[in-house]
Symmetry: C2
Subunit: 240 residues, 2 copies
């Protein structure tokens, strides 16, 4: 099976959570919207939005044989067991997915720091609102989410290595990506957070050093962070 | 099995999507945070947030035997097959869940019309920003989501009765709730939308008339809409 990922070329965005899972899981996949040719590129991706059976609302989209799957957390839930980066029990899978959905909520809030009024408007047209929203994010929301994930890591009796204790899952990859993105977008706030939530930052480092992830991060397949994605660096939003 | 739902008493909020599923599915359940006594009320709910194995980030929370499940869409995915309001195939379940996650995204945007800066601030303290965000919502985002759901309904060869065609699922209940909420929050914009997206509004009516849903809506178990929930009516945000 060769998986086909469709996501906006040029940004990591939500597609990156799927890429990290496929890289770590050793999946064979194509990053189709970054290719050129028939059925590829942005055009190929846009065509999927008009699929006649299960049209996705938005990228990322995964094609797996005859299945067309949308919504990042849904894609990860599907891939998890197939790539052996999810627990085997129903209870374990529900919990993993629950954590992933909480990360998804966090991502919306991270994105909305620079676009609190409308995704369709430029940042410059909502800069004043962004300052207010980002201040609340840095002071209240970011500590709330990071504190939550730190608590989950801290309370495992089976050890603090991964979000599920001893068991490595795709949620660990997503936590890595969130911390990497926060470092890019809010370097000051994140440096402070690293002292307050040491476990979650240690997890980030541990994931970064996994051989497949390290190789991926050093490859041209990894798109660098930039100010078109979810995580954007505007120094004026990083004051706290 | 008696399910236990924990959600903020006094608002429909995200808990309502779980209630509708349990009501239609004929589940035996307790709405524990609305009860009083030991382990009940808000206090009982807050204690679950410190569960030592799988602490949820926020309500709604469902206790099902030994399982403690958070995240609305995750709860519905769990309940769906058990209450026979989900498809039997993996492909069907992925698609149902995908639609539910898109509804979840829509809900965040609906909520943020009145709280674009911070959930912790009063509406009055972000009224100006709310006006801008609500205008974009009514003119761009609401049509985008409703147009999407209308398209999904319209393209079924097996008939347009439900979001999955001939098969009724928990997603239909959630669509009902969203349309009901939009009617409350944005009566003007929603009246106009009803003409443009007739199928989705017909679905709302069809669900409202299901015997178990009609009985539930007429019961004291259904909390009325009010300005503490996701859907809030501020006439100044309904101009478009």
């Amino acid at each position: 099976m060769v998986y086909e990922l469709y996501y906006w070329p040029g940004v990591q965005g939500r597609g990156e959570f799927v890429r990290l899972a496929m890289e770590e899981g050793g999946a064979r996949y194509r990053d189709v919207a970054r290719e050129s040719g028939k059925g590829a590129g942005i055009q190929g991706m846009m065509r999927l939005l008009n699929d006649l059976e299960t049209p996705p609302f938005a990228p990322p989209i995964l094609r797996a044989g005859r299945l067309l799957i949308g919504q990042t957390a849904n894609i990860l839930q599907f891939l998890g067991p197939r790539l052996k980066i999810a627990p085997n029990t129903e209870a374990g899978r529900l919990w993993t997915h629950q954590l992933q959905l909480t990360i998804a909520d966090f991502l919306v809030e991270i994105h909305d720091t620079h676009h609190p009024v409308a995704g369709s408007l430029y940042y410059e047209d909502q800069k004043k609102e962004a300052r207010r929203r980002a201040a609340d994010f840095v002071n209240n929301r970011m500590p709330k989410y990071l504190g939550y994930f730190e608590k989950v890591l801290a309370q495992h009796v089976s050890g603090e290595r991964y979000m599920l204790g001893a068991k490595f899952t795709y949620v660990d990859l997503s936590i890595f990506q969130v911390i990497a993105g926060l470092h890019y977008a809010f370097p000051n706030a994140t440096r402070k957070a690293a002292r307050k939530y040491p476990r979650i930052f240690a997890l980030h480092t541990r994931i970064q050093e996994r051989p497949r992830i390290a190789a991926y991060l050093a490859s041209p397949r990894r798109i660098p962070f930039n100010n078109d994605g979810i995580f954007r660096h505007y120094p004026e939003l990083d004051a706290g």
